[in-house]
Subunit: 248 residues, 2 copies
Amino acid sequence: MAATSNRTLAILQLFSEERPVLTAEDVATAIETSVSTAYRYIKELCAVGFLDSVSRGEFALGPAFIQYDFVMRRSDALIQHAAPLMKRLIEETDPRSDVVLSRLFNNCVLCIHQESGPEPHTPTRYVRGVAMPLFVGATSKVILAHLPDRSLKRLYLDNEDDIRKRFPDQTWKEFKQDLKAIRKDGYSFTMSEVSEGQTGLAAPVFRGDSVIASVSIVMAKSIFDDLETRLSVQDAVKSCARAIETVR
Amino acid sequence: MAATSNRTLAILQLFSEERPVLTAEDVATAIETSVSTAYRYIKELCAVGFLDSVSRGEFALGPAFIQYDFVMRRSDALIQHAAPLMKRLIEETDPRSDVVLSRLFNNCVLCIHQESGPEPHTPTRYVRGVAMPLFVGATSKVILAHLPDRSLKRLYLDNEDDIRKRFPDQTWKEFKQDLKAIRKDGYSFTMSEVSEGQTGLAAPVFRGDSVIASVSIVMAKSIFDDLETRLSVQDAVKSCARAIETVR
DNA sequence: GCGTTTTTCGCAATATATGCGAAAATGTAA
DNA sequence: TTACATTTTCGCATATATTGCGAAAAACGC
């Protein structure tokens, strides 16, 4: 996430899983201001619930985030509609699989809902709030593949450094070629790209004629050894995506 | 949630379940500023993920809220620890019950986790993100009952208007009396206070010697007709709370 | 490509945030 | 309860960042 010159926002950005609690002095130091100014901001942020004082001199993220996430969940018809369809997808395929619904935002692809089978073979990695790497894995790729040229190019240029790290020799042309194939297939399939030994198979979810999300199934690699199985999983994921699209 | 003089925060407060999408002009009007200034703020908020442009000229809450909620979930050891204990509580009592974990913040009590039995008798009302009315229902009351005098008085005075609406004749003394009884019992039991026909039974969760949360069981009123049952539910909720406290 | 709407930008005026130091409030330990 | 140490708030003069305006650029649909 980009930096900001807005101090209010800069303060919120200081908090993370690694650093969930800060003192007023920590904040003052980090945003390069006096302690009293830090307190002024902190007070305001606490008043509206973005921060919460957890004990004398210590502050943490506040209840507003939990509440706003709730607001977003509630006003997102996609999730309500998709959840039972995702459950059904698991039943149709394999009780060990995870099914993930990811939504495209302007700067990222985020897992927004997840369903697991009754016998998950590994602790679920992809739950609401997890950012999917933009250029790695079926979930994101299948979305990129259906993006308008302009948007795609912007994303690519914004993230060129990251891409180079992972795929040093890939040209823009090759990249486009890959995506074109995905577009033609109507799904994306990746093996061990995001996590070792796991395969992802994802289909795009459209609203009107733009992609807004993707559904992916995550399974152990071995499941796909059998071609027959792979084909049936492909179809199941694709028709799950089609079903999700019928929302509203 | 209180108003704020900070425009950045004021903008975020405009978004709600009823009004999830706004135009730049809407924002400008609401915060009483020019459209270009509104755009300046919106741009900044989008850059850090607090807002997201959903289509030409329309903006909505952004991915940051989902991500921050995730960060909070992950860095909250209480939830991780409590979840299986809450499931067990359902097994020990009734498969139709809901069990709710609520956390005390400075200005509110929020449901932060919820488990449902295999046969929920009604769609679950209390899920992560739902604010519990502060002075109504077992969940909040049992927390208030164990608050230090100072904090309690501050909360009471801050919310006196709301309280008067619901309990016009209650004096501070009577209120304190009620809480004292709850403190003595070690749990709070309310019938149809929050929603008709539902009963809540809640026990406090301590860290050190201050309350930080509560566990509640929500059941149909009829369950409690049998005294025997009620006593055993009481004990089960209380020992669930004790078990949750063993975290860290 | 063309026209319409949305979004950005530069600039000068001015409202607003800032740091300082003092005072108040809060919690802790005796 | 009192006294102490730490945290938090506040007032004020000054510097600084924010504002609105209008023009220009960008984005999108046709």
